[in-house]
Point group: C2
Chain length 150, copies 2
Amino acid sequence: MIKTEIIFSNLKRNGHRLTKTRKAIVSALLTSECPLSAFDLKARLLDGDVEVNKTTVYRELAFLVKHNVIHEIQFGDGKTRYRVCPDGHHHHAICVKCSKVDEIIMENDLAAHEKKLDKLINFKVLHHTLEFFGLCKACNNAELKKRAAR
Amino acid sequence: MIKTEIIFSNLKRNGHRLTKTRKAIVSALLTSECPLSAFDLKARLLDGDVEVNKTTVYRELAFLVKHNVIHEIQFGDGKTRYRVCPDGHHHHAICVKCSKVDEIIMENDLAAHEKKLDKLINFKVLHHTLEFFGLCKACNNAELKKRAAR
DNA sequence: TTTGCAAATGCAACCTGGTTGCGAAAGAGA
DNA sequence: TCTCTTTCGCAACCAGGTTGCATTTGCAAA
């Protein structure tokens, strides 16, 4: 995976060490199909036989956020999740039943809204969060089937 | 305030008691200009000489959410905030410096997006969150002034 | 290859927001 | 006023996340 190498060499160039933990965390986040919480991440590292203390996980995540390798996402369940910085700005569709996360891209853009906020109430938008919560295809089908059976 | 009376009589009609605590919490949330956390609320009640145990605050908030009097809002700082259910669906502009919260209404609606999600990936949206984070007018001015002084 | 030092790590203890079990207090209808 | 159920307060607990400090480890220079 080429993206891993780019991240590693960037970190190295800026004088940071490439420890076993750091490499494992970046790789895990890169290969994950959805954002991971600190807890999820710790479990996933353990699957790959890398045992890491939770303090280290939190510190490493903070480090990677600080150096713009990953960023935080909040789904409102009290857990902070992390994902490798995407090229564009994405939003998410989160299934409230199975927690599956899909990335979505909004075409008629929120950028226009951010500009409007500035004009109307002089609010300078730095960033925003937009998450959709509902039922994914599979869960919705299961739900419909259950209802039909009654 | 007439809205208070409507809420109280609705609760009463449904067989719920109107305790000192319940009345104080509803009133505090109604008169607050921004969503309150459990902690904020407890402090505000104390200002009005109503001392309430934190467990009671959390239980009362859960009760009011369950009965559709208030709802939760997440600003991603690890605290759940509450506000009296608004007539329409609002979003927020949250100042990252002073934490001032403004309500905003989006005209070109997200409802169209929710329909599109359903069509494209069969995702049934139940609800969504959209919050803008940035600098309010006052904080932005202060920031500009500080920069000009340098 | 070895050495030295800052960066990274592990551990234990801690903090904060929120929850649970249970006995005591208090609305409100009879 | 009595009675019964809802509500309340307390203490103990839980989960996610943080901090201080001593130890280990990359890695660059010698």
